[in-house]
Amino acid sequence: MPLTREGIAYRVAHDLPDGSYVNLGVGIPSLVTRFIPPGRIILIHSENGILGAGPKAPPGEEDPDLVNANGDFVTLVPGASVFDHALSFAIIRGGHLTHAVLGALQVSSRGDLANWRVPGPRVPGVGGAMDIAVGARQVWVATTHTTDRGEPKIVEECSYPLTAPRCVRRVYTDLAVLSIRDERLVLEEVAPDVTPDDVAARTAATLTVSPQLRVMEIPAEIDGIRLLAS
């Protein structure tokens, strides 16, 4: 059974070690904070100058001077700090973030990432994507395995404009966990009842199956949130 979007976020959250400093992209990555296992302290960095961003503010308690990079009115956890954009991007580019979890339009089998622009007559806007992709010590992608139209997002060569070449270490999808090792795409885990052939059929790149291939350990739901699609 494939994972839901929350299921993908749950699976990512369980791989973030205690003491991580993490930047989360929009979409599925932004759901990761909900599923951090109890007892682990993970500080969330936001490009606009927060280390230690907390959950969204309850309605009526928003602070108009406190948003995250997504534009959400958020809170600060105890021990949080706020700072300017130059320091924030020194944190990013300087290799101080232990992890970044990003969304993707496409990922290549060598770890090239495309997640900022769809070609065509549109206003281009890159934000912090390129800095984060080159700066975080580990870049993980959390995404659906294919687009809404069923097209593979994991490809031999990205056709969309690149955010950064050779930057992605792991890819978490609704079907699998993959790693990119020595520019090879390795299938590490499959979702329950999903076979390596199922994954290969939805991947437009050569896939190496790890000799230690595992089936994901993931509950069907947690706190009323479905993690596995029915």
């Binding site: 606009n48 100058g49 300017d84 954009h85 206003v123």
Partner: protein
Amino acid sequence: MDKVVATCDEAVADIPNGASIMIGGFGPPGIPVHLVHALRRRKLRDLVLIYCGGGTDEDGIGGLIADGAVRKLISSYPTHPGATAVRERYLAGELELEVLPQGTFVERIRAAGAGLGGFYTPTGVGTELAEGKEVRVIDGRAYLFELPLRADYAFIKAYRADRWGNLVYRRTMRNFNPIMATAADVVIAEVDEVGPVGALSPEEIETPCIFVDRVVEAPRPWVRQRPATGR
């Protein structure tokens, strides 16, 4: 040394057509909206704006662009859903757009304010934003050369000031403001509250008065009920 001016209109009265203007802010926090609205009332032409977003109707920057006052926007993320004026003007070929990675955007401004001739960054290597830029390999890694970015004016939003222009910020209203305050010929700060010299503790001043030319008080009503620090 007293830099307080009475109104936002007075603070922007000398800005000519064709001026380049940095505007701080990210999200709503830290946008000097009263200065932007005063600028809009000037009905200028050919402005070059240096602003991270694309502007909305609420913050007035979208209005400046919709008015046709802006020739060029240097930005990082002018793509957000509220940025309708950018979208229309850009797609109609009436607005020049230079898009930069956000870290490069702020570091170019920081370099200008710090008197540097540019810097090498790994950001953008191997992408379409590297086109036309010098690539240099340092210790085996490729970097792009980026130039400093200055402006004629900077519009800054801060929380509190003294009459000399020392500035204090709260929460995420810092963003680009302390950096842009270093990189323009004339720096105009819009603040919620101006106090006497000596009222701010030296440790809390993030922008020292040496960078600031004009201070204008334009309070937001809700601010007085909230502490600068704490939760």
